[in-house]
């Protein structure tokens, strides 16, 4: 049987998916144990118990200086920045994307501008953002917005622009005004695509968040890993990275769930 035709059952595919992950973990543990046996103060590849010890202080104990649980205040600060950045990007993408996609005069006026902004590498704008907004929260949120909003705007504009002409004509023959057409035809059909765009932007959004935190911050997941890097504290960095990955995965699953439950028609299945 050809490999392209091999079908994998559900339970088998879970097992097969877990296999390389477990294999990597085992390889890591073997190498880490090896290095720890030679050097008891090994820092590069810490064993799990070392990670648990290091994280316990951050998760369950108040920091002596700030009086806060560092792990949780880092998580909260990063999620707040990310959430704010995603929310502003999503709303502006919906608004600008719709206007660009469905109103030819708006597309003619602003289409090139949005495309132009989307081409600029956002990190190159970071110094400007720091100069304009200072080193506070605004600059970090602004970096996320500038990084992902233009892509999302173009995606929504493209999607709305490619709605079948027949639908737009039909709506008009049913008496729809421009406003009614936007409200009842364009917005609902933009929503599943918008969620999809948020999912795709989630990765870049994390990149911009951690970059901004690495450069200038007092709290945040990105700030913490770049801070403890100075002490080669892999026992903190590795759990933090795993935590970031877990958060990203949960947000992604949550978005899929929203899209499926609220916009079942777009997923070709029964509600």
């Amino acid at each position: 049987m050809r490999w392209i035709n091999r079908r994998i059952g559900r339970s088998n595919s879970v097992l097969m998916g877990l296999m390389p992950i477990i294999l990597l973990l085992i390889v890591y543990l073997i190498i880490a144990a090896d290095r720890n046996a030679i050097n008891p103060s090994e820092k590069i590849l810490p064993l799990p118990n070392a990670m648990v010890d290091a994280m316990r202080a951050l998760v369950f104990e108040k920091d002596a200086l700030s009086g806060e649980y560092l792990f949780w205040s880092d998580t909260l600060a990063s999620l707040r920045r990310l959430g704010l950045g995603l929310a502003i990007s999503t709303l502006s993408a919906l608004f600008v994307g719709l206007m660009l996609g469905i109103l030819p005069p708006v597309r003619a006026t602003f289409g090139m501008l949005v495309t132009g902004i989307a081409i600029i590498p956002p990190i190159a704008l970071l110094p400007i953002l720091f100069i304009v907004f200072g080193l506070g929260e605004t600059a970090k949120v602004a970096l996320i917005v500038i990084g992902i909003a233009p892509f999302m705007m173009r995606d929504i504009a493209g999607h709305i622009g490619s709605l079948p002409r027949e639908q737009i004509v039909k709506a008009q023959t049913l008496g729809a005004s421009t406003w009614q057409l936007i409200l009842r035809v364009a917005v609902p059909q933009a929503m599943p695509r918008l969620i999809e765009a948020v999912r795709l932007s989630l990765g870049p959004a994390w990149v911009f968040l951690i970059s901004a935190e690495a450069i200038a911050a007092e709290v945040g997941l990105g700030y913490r890993i770049f801070l403890v890097r100075r002490y080669l504290a892999m026992d903190v960095i590795i759990p933090y990275v795993a935590w970031i990955a877990l958060l990203a995965a949960v947000i992604d699953l949550f978005l899929v769930w929203i899209s499926r439950s609220a916009f079942g028609w777009a997923h070709g299945s029964n509600r």
Binding site: V169, T173, L174, A176, L183, Q189
Partner: protein
């Protein structure tokens, strides 16, 4: 009394390409007009200018004596071959849309008793097209034939002066197509519709219509194929009365070629 829809010297050009030229037509109230012709003869262009989706390059179009705005309005309903229902609305939602646009300009949604009244009207129309049991399905869950039934119900809800059909049954199976022919004939009778239908199917064109128009180019310059546009080369009135049999008159067609059946007078004066 003048005809309901009048076209006077209508022409359509795209740049140097002349698609239609000097179309003169009078379409009476209650007519069922089929438009046939080879591909590229401007059938759909003609439909688009009547619909208002495009403005004609020249000439005038009058509906009930009034010049037509080059914009789609609810007095002209349309059913396309594909994509004319909204994928994000249920059957009922698709049908209600016309009511909601007219009765709720700001929110385009109806609530409470007004919604109930609109639903009752929509359900009646959906029963008429045979979708009474599928109110809460989404278009993606329905067959092509059911989607076209929905598209027809959706258009008829607005009681359009003219119903324009652009190859509405072209993508359907032959069996389904025959059902749809019966349906459209019944609706044409029951609702006293005026229909203009573009089709590729000669049998359909002659079977359903009270009048068949053939579009083609009168002159053809092989060195400049776009120099001359198409116009109405045959205008065949059929003696099919409203309320007549809904079966297709298949004897009039032999292997797709049209022979002169009784009741058809071919206007040979406008031959090439």
């Amino acid at each position: 009394m003048s005809a309901m829809l009048q076209l006077r010297d209508v022409s359509v050009e795209y740049g140097d390409k002349i698609v239609l030229e000097r179309i003169n037509l009078d379409i009476e109230d209650g007519a069922f007009v089929s438009i046939i012709g080879p591909s590229g003869a401007g059938k759909s262009s003609l439909l688009r200018v009547v619909l208002g989706q495009e403005a004609p390059t020249g000439g005038r179009i009058l509906l009930d004596g009034q010049p037509l705005k080059p914009e789609c309005e609810p007095d002209r309903g349309v059913v396309f071959q594909r994509y004319s229902v909204f994928p994000h609305l249920t059957v009922l939602g698709n049908t209600l849309f016309g009511f909601e646009c007219a009765r709720a300009p700001l929110t385009a949604r109806l609530f409470g008793n007004r919604r109930k009244a609109a639903i009752a009207e929509a359900e009646e129309m959906l029963h008429a097209v045979g979708l009474g049991d599928s109110l809460h399905l989404y278009p993606a869950q329905m067959s092509g034939g059911m989607q076209q039934r929905l598209a027809i119900a959706q258009a008829l809800i607005k009681r359009p002066r003219i119903l324009l059909l652009d190859e509405p049954f072209g993508a359907l199976d032959p069996g389904i197509r025959a059902d749809m022919h019966k349906l459209i004939t019944r609706l044409w009778n029951d609702y006293a519709l005026t229909v203009i239908m573009v089709t590729h199917d000669l049998k359909e064109a002659f079977g359903l219509a009270t009048r068949v128009l053939t579009l083609d180019k009168r002159r053809h310059d092989p060195h400049a194929p776009d120099r001359y546009g198409a116009t109405v080369v045959f205008d065949l009135p059929l003696d099919r009365k409203r309320g007549g049999g809904s079966e297709l008159n298949s004897e009039s067609i032999v292997d797709g070629a049209v022979i002169d059946p009784p009741g058809i007078t071919i206007d040979k004066t406008c031959n090439i």
